[in-house]
């Protein structure tokens, strides 16, 4: 990909090498783009000895991973749920959200060049899922000649992470191979029951990249990735089995570059297959299920450099998705063609504006137009302000449309929106329905995509040469969130559920970050996020005095005030991250200490009024601290050691992804 002319004109401050692609689909210097974006670089990841993407995300301001029921860990950005962040590897989307969350533990960081994060709705370039933001994992390109490295780390819980990479680059040809294996015995926070908090697992990731320059203008490349994980599935003393996930993706790309045009023609294939089973003590199959999703996405994108003041990007493509899974009566398929453009304009040297938009066509629900407008103003060499506004959406997933599931032990049913009429008439024929709560005609209209309009307004200022201060205000107004409700009562006393558009959610707050570099050895940063996250209907209910609570579970109820509403579940009002890096070049030694705080939050309604209010039980606020030490022994060998969660904080009831204190050792060998 070419360096955009614009980026060459970017005013140069301290981070010339911080190039970000995700924000504009062109190479731009991070500090010059008019969006709320950040980069986590390889050096930083190596310094912390992180092994999975979750480790990295949790040390980034305003981001945090949250666990879902299935144990997957998704990302929360600016208070929006994990379903709403698009995750890319080398600019291409990952799939496999079997229960909504895309498990970030699937992603090894062993061969990562950098992680790019864009906060705020970004569907104008990326379409579906980019409602809260985009995370793009850019993998490494080999350096000239042969290069190889191998590393291994060992952690508490018998967690072993091995990496091997091999690269070759000549004038015309580049190739790289990466293999990662990751395994663990898991852990158990609650010894009183028979189940483990995290079961034993092992996984493997391989990535092969090949590129060849056919001539000065034309490059072809292949990027393929394979992932497989097997994890023990233990449901009770008597029921156990395995869960297996396999992911295959391959991207074929042709790049044509002239002085004015830079065009990519790509076709991307992605398949995600998961299955699981449970056997009883006698080895008899108790349950099994599978999930088989594919995505094929051809896309052509062209950047046209009109002048050194402006450029334009146009892209066009199609997403073909299909899903076959247990509890579906049909095998849904969907084609959604899309087209997008972006105009990048620099009317004055210190002003840059971005306009863009994208159209995604859907058959099963409303087609989407996603506009964007943002700008940056460099007031002088040390001060800048920027704003970005944009639209983001998440289309209803196949589960919300086509699910047909009846729980075998309890007896409730969940039906996808588009199959309500079919499945309900079947249930009525079978005499299973006693009462219809929501008239079936209501399902004649289509379900709307969830959508969000986001605003970010930020500034950056640096003074005293070594002190940098930045702040950002954000607001996300989210509409048409999809929830489920009871649509009918069954004769067995249970309910039939289906999905519907209801909630409007508002999340807003402030991010502040201070970076200080007192001398060449130390780097200190402090970040803070203030977050308010409300369901607007809930706030209205409090406002209208429709919500009640009891002081103790058996005392008479009283009416709650508006100020008693706490907000959405699993949102902390305050979050802070403090980091110190120490780097001693003479002794080839560096170390880093990270301290993270998350204030109290509620996970569920504990006082039976269906809302999170201040009389509910909360998960206590907590600190975690991680430290790592790295030493370069000679040209090719480096050793690392450290402790994660030094304070040994855990909450067996509420925080399943915090296992207590972890020690680790890591060795890396570099061949050149």
């Amino acid at each position: 990909m070419s360096q955009s002319v614009l980026s060459q004109n970017d005013s140069i401050k301290n981070n010339l090498d911080e190039i970000i692609i995700t924000a504009t689909k062109t190479k731009r210097i991070l500090s010059s783009i008019p969006l709320n974006a950040s980069i986590i670089k390889k050096e930083e990841i190596e310094r912390t000895s992180a092994t999975r993407l979750t480790d990295v995300i949790n040390e980034e301001l305003g981001l945090m991973t949250v666990s879902d029921f299935g144990g997957g860990e998704g990302i929360q950005i600016q208070g929006l749920d994990s379903e709403y962040t698009l995750v890319l590897i080398d600019n291409q989307p990952l799939i496999g959200r079997s229960a909504g969350t895309l498990d970030l533990n699937r992603i090894s960081v062993g061969n990562i060049k950098q992680i790019e994060i864009v906060r705020g709705a970004s569907s104008s370039l990326y379409g579906n899922e980019a409602l809260a933001g985009v995370i793009n994992i850019i993998t490494e390109e080999p350096a000239n000649g042969f290069n190889a490295d191998i590393s291994s780390s060992y952690e508490t819980h018998n967690t072993i992470d091995n990496n091997f990479s091999l690269g070759y680059k000549s004038q015309k040809f580049t190739s790289s191979l990466f293999v990662n294996t990751f395994s663990s015995d898991g852990y158990d926070l609650d010894e009183t029951d028979e189940l483990n908090t995290v079961n034993e697992f092992k996984n493997i990731t391989t990535q092969l990249k090949l590129g060849y320059d056919l001539n000065d203008n034309l490059t072809i490349s292949i990027n393929s990735r394979y992932y497989n994980q097997i994890i023990d599935n233990i449901a009770s003393i008597t029921l156990s089995g395995k869960t297996n996930i396999t992911e295959n993706n391959i991207n074929l790309k042709m790049n044509h570059k002239t002085k004015k045009f830079n065009t990519d023609l790509e076709i991307y294939f992605n398949s995600f297959y998961g299955d699981e089973f449970l056997d009883d003590q006698n080895g008899i199959r108790f349950s099994e299920s599978f999930y088989d999703q594919t995505l094929i996405k051809p896309e052509i994108k062209s950047i046209y450099e009109i002048s050194d003041k402006n450029n334009i990007i146009v892209g066009i493509g199609n997403r073909h998705e299909s899903l076959d899974r247990t509890y579906f009566d049909i095998k849904p398929k969907q084609n959604s063609p899309f087209i997008y453009f972006q105009y990048d304009y620099r009317p004055l040297e210190k002003i840059n504006l971005l306009f863009g938009g994208r159209y995604d066509k859907f058959d099963e629900y409303k087609s989407q137009i996603s506009p964007k407008f943002s700008g940056i103003f460099e007031l002088d060499d040390n001060n800048l302000v920027k704003f970005s506004t944009g639209y983001g959406f998440k289309a209803p997933d196949f589960r919300q449309l086509y699910f047909n599931f009846s729980n075998s032990t309890i007896g409730y049913s969940v039906i996808g929106y588009n199959v309500v009429n079919d499945v309900m008439s079947q249930l009525i024929d079978e005499g299973q329905i006693v009462n219809i709560v929501v008239p079936l005609e209501e399902f004649d209209n289509s379900l709307s995509p969830e959508s969000s309009f986001s605003v970010n307004i930020g500034f950056e200022t640096s003074f005293l040469k070594n002190f940098k201060f930045s702040g950002n205000f954000f607001n996300n107004s989210t509409r048409n969130l999809i929830d489920y409700r009871v649509i009918a009562n069954k004769t067995n006393g249970q309910n039939v559920f289906s999905y519907y558009n209801i909630n409007e959610v508002s999340t807003y707050g402030v991010e502040i970050e201070t970076k200080y570099k007192p001398n060449n050895n130390f780097k200190i940063s402090l970040g803070y996020q203030l977050l308010y996250a409300y369901d607007l209907d809930a706030r209205k209910a409090f406002d209208n005095g429709e919500v009640f609570a009891r002081l103790t579970p058996v005392s008479p109820a009283f009416r709650l005030k508006k100020s008693d509403y706490f907000g959405l579940y699993n949102r902390s009002r305050h979050m802070a991250i403090f980091k110190i890096n120490y780097n001693n070049l003479e002794n080839k030694f560096n170390s880093s200490l990270r301290l993270r705080y998350r204030s109290k939050y509620g996970l569920y309604d504990s006082n039976s009024n269906n809302y999170l209010d201040k009389y509910d039980e909360f998960v206590n606020g907590y600190f975690t601290a991680n430290v790592s030490l790295n030493k370069l022994i000679n040209q090719s060998i480096s050793l690392s050691a450290g402790i994660e969660n030094i304070f040994n904080y855990f909450d067996r009831q509420n925080i399943s992804n915090l296992s207590g204190r972890i020690y680790f050792l890591r060795a890396k060998y570099n061949l050149k």
Binding site: F548, R550, P556, A557, N610
Partner: protein
């Protein structure tokens, strides 16, 4: 105010006297806390259909459980509450309705429930009970896994017309034996109602002052 305790049938009567209101000529309203009224159930949980076994019948005027076929106002079986008015759903063990009973749910606190809205009262029918069944529909919320707790939804006041055309308001406080502060669905015995109620003994009076 005087308090009488009948430990054998496990409830407390609290007679309160508030004579200032001219609206209530005659006898004063009665405020009572009933503790651990046992409402066993056989068969299907959470729904009238498939459930069986006798209902635990209750009379507001006397403040006691009763076996009378006619002289009862409301009756409990598991989480289901029926009134002595309207028609039976016909489940096994369900008593015949022979009174004027009816009910509705008032959203608010016990004190805020001042006047009975006659138009809101409904009787039991062949298809449904006046107090709807199911979590979130009537008087309780079921927490689901992992705790499986049934808690009385705060702000739900059950308003009843008795079998003999008088009124009562009820706030259910607990579904577990001994009304524990933090019930455990696995160790605490369920289907034991603890509730407060106020009974208006005067014919035709629709207030509770």
């Amino acid at each position: 105010m005087k308090t009488i305790k009948f430990f054998t049938i496990s409830f407390i009567l609290l007679f309160t006297f508030s004579c200032e209101d001219d609206n209530n000529i005659g006898i004063d309203t009665i405020s009572i806390t009933v503790e651990d009224l046992h409402a066993p159930l056989e068969g299907g949980q959470g729904s009238p259909v498939g459930a069986s076994g006798p209902f635990t019948k209750f009379n507001f005027e006397n403040g006691i459980q009763t076996d009378s076929e006619t002289n009862w106002d409301i009756a409990f079986r598991g989480t289901s509450i029926i009134v002595n008015g309207g028609e039976s759903m016909g489940t096994e063990g369900e008593p015949e309705r022979n009174g004027d009973g009816a009910a509705y749910i008032f959203e608010g606190t016990m004190n805020e429930m001042e006047i009975v809205e006659i138009s809101l009262l409904t009787e039991d029918s062949q298809n449904s009970y006046a107090i709807p069944t199911g979590s979130g529909n009537g008087w309780y919320t079921y927490s689901g896994p992992p705790n499986h707790i049934i808690s009385p939804t705060p702000g739900k006041i059950l308003v009843f017309r008795t079998h003999d055309n008088k009124y009562a308001k009820v706030e259910i406080l607990s579904y577990y034996l001994g009304a524990p502060e933090n019930p455990d669905a696995f160790t605490d015995q369920s289907r034991y109602y603890t509730f407060n109620y106020v009974y208006q003994p005067n014919e035709g009076a629709t207030t509770f002052d």
